[in-house]
């Protein structure tokens, strides 16, 4: 694969070839780190640390596995270690950001405000998932890792990975439908109004 070409170049002493790999996977590493650490500065630092680790351990990479999964695994382990070292109120940082955003949202047209509200709702549903469920959702649906790759990242067998993802989806449906129960009337009214207006 193309990754392998770059890896071989790096191992042959071409340090600059590594930059291509950084560009290719930096969003993956940052995405996972942000999801597990909830802090942009820390996620950016961790992204650099992970790539230095990858570079230092490149010789130990086994080409039978996906390079993407290998990098993701190093990232997840690094973040877990970091979280264990500094057990902190991760959710607090997130809430702060939401509050800032809500303040900035004032003065938007109602339609956009509704869309934003919906986005926030969906986001908080995702955030409220237990960590390992959320991680599987992020890896599969946001970072486009395959089931095989997620098995390599988490070390779980396929049955558990599938089960986690299915249950996570179910939890998301439940959380979001609890909201829908409250708001359904209002939205249906809007929908009906729109319908009538256009006809």
């Amino acid at each position: 694969m193309d990754d392998m070409v770059q890896i071989k170049k790096c191992l042959a002493g071409d340090g600059e070839a590594f930059e291509v790999l950084v560009t290719r996977y930096k969003n993956l590493v940052y995405g996972i780190a942000l999801n597990l650490l909830h802090n942009k500065d820390e996620a950016a630092d961790v992204t650099q640390e992970v790539f230095l680790k990858v570079w230092a351990n490149l010789k130990r990479y086994n080409p039978e596995y996906s390079f993407k999964a290998w990098i993701a695994r190093i990232t997840v382990n690094h973040c877990i270690n970091l979280n264990q070292k500094t057990r902190r109120a991760a959710a607090a940082a997130w809430d702060e950001e939401v509050v800032c955003r809500i303040a900035a949202d004032k003065g938007l047209p109602e339609e956009e405000l509704l869309a934003k509200e919906k986005q926030d709702r969906v986001r908080s549903a995702i955030e409220s998932l237990p960590e390992m469920y959320r991680l599987v959702v992020i890896l599969f649906h946001q970072q486009s890792l395959s089931y095989d790759e997620i098995c390599q990242v988490t070390g779980y067998p396929l049955s558990i990975v599938k089960n986690r993802l299915y249950r996570a989806r179910k939890m998301l449906c439940e959380k979001l439908s609890a909201y829908h129960g409250r708001e359904a009337g209002k939205e249906e009214g809007l929908w009906a109004a729109g319908r009538h207006g256009s006809c």
Partner: protein, 177 residues
């Protein structure tokens, strides 16, 4: 009725593993069942949100990572010393060997004289040569002894220096890890 199957098919569709026939079944069910439609809409909203909020790493990631790698690589270069110095010492040894074995007997009497004035060095050479003659019955092997001596003399401190640098680098990696 059929909601369980619809859910299964919805899961399969999210996995990207649904065939045409099942997809039609799912779509038909979603049209007639508001409950399943709501689940479908919730999950679509989740996927959209995940796509919309896909985090992008800072632009500075590459330069920062590459800068660190370059600085570590720079510190790694003295590791080559243990390989370079013995080779250089060996080459010097060979040159010395050739100089003594051939130039001395040739027309270069002046060089011969100059070399003889370096009594200590020449004396050392003479005793090595005598030792070699005694040991191997040949004067030519003394060149080999001189070469080995020089290689060891240059090689040992260079090797020790290399080891010290290497320890420093691995300590750095331990701190990164």
């Amino acid at each position: 009725m059929g909601c369980r199957k619809a859910w299964e098919l919805l899961m399969r569709r999210m996995d990207g593993e649904i065939d045409r026939q099942n997809l039609r079944y799912l779509e038909n069910h979603l049209m007639i069942c508001p409950e399943c439609r709501e689940k479908h809409d919730s999950l679509s909203a989740v996927l959209m949100e995940l796509d919309r909020t896909k985090p992008a790493a800072p632009e500075s990631t590459e330069p920062k990572v590459m800068e660190k790698i370059r600085s570590v690589r720079h510190r790694e270069t003295p590791l080559f010393l243990p390989y370079v110095v013995p080779a250089a010492a060996l080459l010097t040894g060979i040159l010395v060997f050739l100089f003594y074995e051939y130039a001395m007997d040739g027309p270069m009497a002046m060089i011969n004289k100059a070399a003889q004035t370096l009594t200590i060095f020449y004396g050392a050479y003479q005793s090595v040569a005598a030792f070699s003659r005694f040991l191997f019955g040949s004067v030519y092997l003394n060149g080999v002894l001189i070469m080995t001596g020089l290689a060891l003399l240059g090689g040992i401190p260079a090797f020790l220096h290399g080891q010290r640098v290497k320890r420093g680098v691995s300590k750095y990696w331990r701190s990164v890890k």
